[in-house]
Symmetry: C2
Subunit: 323 residues, 2 copies
DNA sequence: TTGTAAGCGTTATCAT
DNA sequence: ATGATAACGCTTACAA
């Protein structure tokens, strides 16, 4: 490069400590040669990287995409990169991903929920980088928590329906096995209903059926039985959409014959006819806040220390035509 | 570790070259200590990493999530990790991401479409790692191509409608600026229509309006004018959903009064009433095939060499109730 | 403000 | 089958 060597490192990391003249010359050389600093070597030397790993159940579902987006965008705005893997709710896959990520000595690690394998727990406990758990909110756990409590969501749904005068409120569970969060929502639903002196009413669709079909099955079974519910809370919007469509084809008037609530506020919720009342989880906010807490922990952005460990976010009830 | 040091490297990379006894002992030590090899150091020493970078316009939209999912899953199945960034269709952001990725000396790089900044082109041309361009299919370009031609999609839609007897077929463009692919689809539409001796008919919604609203605007304007179309192709499913719902509220019968086609086969397409006929792009397959081509290029999986550079995938017409 | 020397934790190369 | 040694391309002292 003519004159300097180490100064190039300063040029990239502490430009203010390089003289105007050299900055100029180095800048030119860099763009002329298309030089890109080797971050691998840099990370090895400094024992820290600007990579953050995130393990999430899936990328393409309606739930997590916004979280990833918010997380990735916030990170990259501060020069950090996202290493991403999906677990499909499998603790083993999660552990593999965490292990692989750890090998990159990431600046921080984000995992979803609090259901981890023993191995994962060990790996996470053994590292000294910031660890964030998202989506579930478990104040008693050690990692930084960013999420909400599904129990509250169940309560919120019932309160809304009770306020609108509905009394015979059924809850349709998810047909997918392993959706523990839905059970939490159901528990919140049951608690409020019982507190109001009403009877909880669970419907469990055929396990393993597609959500859309399961919702249809629930609507048909419930509305052809006796007594009928006057409102149905579905474990998620996919189920609710199936129920809504089934109701249409059965000639039912929604919400007069039966109100319908979902969970998730998936993209289509406002496009259905009638549009679907639902509860919107703070997907994007979870991703963004997780990133902020990570960046704060790393000192990449200022904070009125210490970094807030418990971050409970709010779900939002979106009232539409179906209730 | 008692006896060995370098052998640990072999234990991880070429276990077959380590004696049974040592393998045993190292294995125990590794799991006892929770040792995770430092991939940063390994990459520096070997000048190659098991990281693959992908830059995609967005993560949370209905389009690309499946591509990312397929890509990530296929990679991780072979021990590679995904470094992900989104560009929001901004060439500058894309260039930043590519530059940052390149610093990690990734094993390969995947970018979306062929609209890059000069800087990006230079960076890509200057590297000797495999580069894949996805979604668009541009045979004359140098990188590996995995995608489809939007022009064909326009043709496919019109052929379907003509086959069903529709003649006055309108095309509703995207309200979002910068959607060049939609223009390609429109061109394919126009070509076939003209070849059939019919008149292309473009509708351009108010620029910048939300897709759902734009679709509504299109449906109302077109169906209140004279003459009316007997079929409408929307640039994507969001627009089509808006149109469909507007038609419902206007009391139109779909498809009798007017057929409706979308593009994308978004999750809600089959949940609408009537369900939406649309064209499904090979989102997942693009991700998976991109990963396969990358892995082949790297020798991570076998191939009947050389690696296929041109990979043209098929869109699929999904006929539902709206046509 | 700039430079020199050491070393980050692996793997490649060459021996044994 | 295993080991010694020298890189890999930076950053962190410390010195000039």
């Amino acid at each position: 490069m003519g004159v300097s060597a180490l100064t190039v490192s300063r040029f990239f990391n502490h430009p203010e400590r390089v003289s105007e003249e050299l900055r100029q010359r180095i800048g030119e050389a860099v763009s002329a040669l298309g030089y890109v600093p080797n971050l691998v070597a840099g990370s090895l030397a400094s024992a820290r990287s600007r990579i953050v790993g995130m393990v999430i159940p899936n990328i393409s579902g309606p739930i997590f995409a916004n979280t990833i987006q918010g997380f990735s965008d916030t990170l990259s705005r501060h020069g950090y990169q996202l290493l991403l893997a999906s677990s499909y709710f499998s603790p083993e896959q999660e552990e593999n991903a965490v292990r692989a990520f750890l090998g990159w000595s990431p600046a921080a690690l984000v995992v979803t929920s609090h259901f981890h394998s023993e191995g994962t727990e060990k790996l996470l406990a053994g590292t000294d980088i910031p660890v964030v758990e998202i989506w579930d909110y478990q104040p008693e756990r050690a990692p930084i928590q960013v999420g909400f409590q599904h129990y509250d969501v169940g309560e919120m749904a019932v309160r809304h329906l009770l306020g609108k005068g509905y009394r015979r409120i059924a809850f349709v569970l998810n047909s997918a096995a392993g959706d523990f969060s839905a059970l939490d929502r159901r528990d919140g639903y049951a608690a409020i209903l019982e507190a109001a002196g009403l009877q909880p009413w669970n419907f469990v669709p055929s396990i393993g059926s597609a959500p859309f079909e399961a919702g249809k099955e629930a609507m048909e079974t419930l509305m052809q039985g006796t007594p009928k519910p006057d409102a149905i809370i579905f474990a998620n919007d996919n189920l609710a959409a199936g129920g809504l469509l089934a109701a249409q084809r059965m000639g039912l008037r929604i919400p007069d014959d039966c109100a319908v609530m979902g969970f998730g506020d998936y993209a289509f919720a406002h496009m259905l006819l009638p549009s679907l009342s639902t509860i919107r989880p703070p997907s994007l906010a979870i991703g963004e806040m997780a990133a902020l807490r990570v960046l704060e922990s790393l000192g990449a952005i200022a904070t009125t220390l210490p970094v807030q460990r418990l971050n409970r976010l709010e779900c939002q009830l979106v009232e539409r035509e179906s209730t």
